[in-house]
């Protein structure tokens, strides 16, 4: 049992059956080998952090989980059954929601149209079945407020939002739709202090509701604050997985940089990383 902290309350169940199991995933783009056999799983109620250098293959890996890419080799089990997500829509229908690194937002469309893109609420039946815009607006505003952002209006175009506001819309959307698994690819890269702590608290909250969270970050402190397990990728391979409480920030940081001369780097930067 690890100690409760601000962003981590209660341990996850280590014996629970994984929701998604990725076995020996390889992904090639032409002659580029982006993933060379990565295994990973995510259990209900845990936050599994995926860490690694730029270009390590983190985004590529989670994209095979969310149906954007099909793995060249390897197997994906969803709730124990072999599953291949042909499109992102398939994985969404299975209850997996993703915040992509590029956010997947349409700048010319309004916040609420973006929020519900692909999963619009409807009212009416048959021929009169239509997009329920009022419900969409209401939910968007209240979900955004929960994330600590007061939108000027639900019909504001996403292109006019600030970078962090845009990122928050993407996170709020994924949290709202992520019934079983929530994948966050560097969700806090553009966020302010208050919004970051909001996101970390949200991860802790959905985790306690039994959702499995995959959290990609370059920030060791953020990862350690919320994570139950930590898997480090390097050049398309896993360097290993550590459990909460079994690894120090320094060890994790060394692993993330591929164990290379970080000590030396740290010296020259005066210990700021």
């Amino acid at each position: 049992m690890t100690e409760d902290s601000k962003f981590h309350h209660g341990d996850s169940d280590n014996n629970a059956a994984p929701i998604v199991q990725m076995k020996d995933i390889e992904k090639h783009f032409g002659n580029i080998i982006a993933l060379a056999g990565v295994s990973f799983d995510i259990r209900p109620g845990e936050c599994h952090c995926l860490l690694g250098d730029n270009g390590a293959g983190k985004s590529t890996f989670i994209k095979t989980m969310s149906g954007v890419h099909q793995p060249t080799h390897g197997e994906i089990l969803f709730e124990g059954k072999p599953m291949s997500f042909a499109t992102p829509r398939d994985s969404m229908e299975a209850g997996i929601a993703t915040v992509f690194q590029d956010l997947a937002m349409i700048p010319l469309m309004s916040v609420s149209r973006n929020f519900f893109m692909g999963r619009e609420p409807t009212k009416g039946k048959g021929l009169t079945k239509r997009f329920d815009i009022d419900t969409a607006n209401e939910i968007t505003m209240s979900e955004m407020r929960k994330m600590g952002i007061n939108l000027r209006g639900p019909d504001q175009a996403v292109g006019t939002l600030s970078g962090g506001e845009r990122q928050t819309v993407a996170i709020a959307r994924a949290v709202y739709f992520g019934a079983k698994v929530l994948i966050l690819d560097e969700p806090t890269s553009a966020l302010g202090v208050r919004q970051t702590s909001n996101v970390l608290a949200t991860i802790d909250k959905v985790r306690s509701q039994g959702v499995g969270v995959v959290f990609i970050s370059h920030n060791v402190r953020h990862a350690l604050a919320v994570g139950d397990r930590f898997t480090v990728l390097n050049r398309g391979k896993t360097l290993g997985t550590a459990k909460r409480g079994e690894i120090t920030p320094e060890e994790l940081q060394d692993l993330m940089a591929g164990g290379q001369e970080l000590a030396q780097l740290e010296g020259s930067l005066g210990g700021t990383i």
Binding site: T87, R89, P107, L108, M109, M117, G118, E120, K129, A157
Partner: protein, 369 residues
Amino acid sequence: MSDTTPNPVVDERIKAEPLISRLMKRPELGAIAGVVLVTAFFLITADSAMFTTAGIINFLTPAAQLGILAIGAAMLMIGGEFDLSIGSMVAFAGLFFGICVMVWGFPLIVAIPLTFVFAAFVGAINGMIVIRSGLPSFIVTLAFLFILRGLSLVGLKWASGGSTQLRGVRDATENDWLAPFFSGDAFPGLFAWLAEKGLVETFKNGTPKVSGMPVEILWFVVLALVATYILLRTPAGNWIFAAGGDSNAASNSGVPVNRIKISLFMVTACCAALVAIITVIDAGSTDARRGFQKEFEAIIAAVIGGCLLTGGYGSAIGAFFGSIIFGMVVIGLTYTDFDQDWFQVFLGGMLLIAVLFNNAIRKRVTGER
């Protein structure tokens, strides 16, 4: 919302936005302003006959024929693609329809649905090639512009035994119960009644000068309304805007982008088929030049209506008014002392102004990024 915030907080960072500036953000605004301007222009310069019932119907008829194409083109443009083959598609669908009626002797109830299925199939091929190859639709449909036009010529010669015209469609369809939906005038009773009440101009003997509303105008209005409803009030509409705005982001968000785009190509081709059916029955014949250069006019009408060439933004109502501007200018010039050939100058000028205007609007909407 009211349960969490009893009196919603007014954000101090928003200036009260005047109605004008809110309207400025609507894509169809430019086209509506254009209609007002063009109307004013012709009210001053043209013979007053232009704005009688007969005169209005006179310019609305070509506007409607173009508008049916323009609404399809606008939806496709919002979805992020072009179709340069719609003009040729009018000729090709007209040929197919002519063959159904003249060579195979089908009644309209068979010939019309068959023509739509055929057009949708050709549209799907267009869309499939664009999606599968990832090539710009501009170049793929440019190829089809020539392929379909050429096939129409070859097919006409085959069907008519050497000529490039297939005649006799009028006689073959005259007594078909479905014909009134696709040709002639609607509401003759209404117009007769209006004439009786003295609300429309009549001939000396009391019959109205205009015997009814040409059916293509009805189709035009209904299509504009249906397209607007789909775009603004249905999930499919949201998907069309998303697919055109950023197809990768849309697809990652679960929008079935390929399905949407192929369907839009099919809808556009069906719009061309509708124009083909209406004009072929009306003229009683089909020929290989039918729909010549209509693809450009339809795209221009869509752009005047506020569609961005880059996709993801636009409106069917805009294309509706864009087409009306078109019809007014083509026909209106004959009511004035101006040389007819000013039409082309006018057209190019309108297009240029519309594109500049739309560009400014887009910057407003996206916050000048």
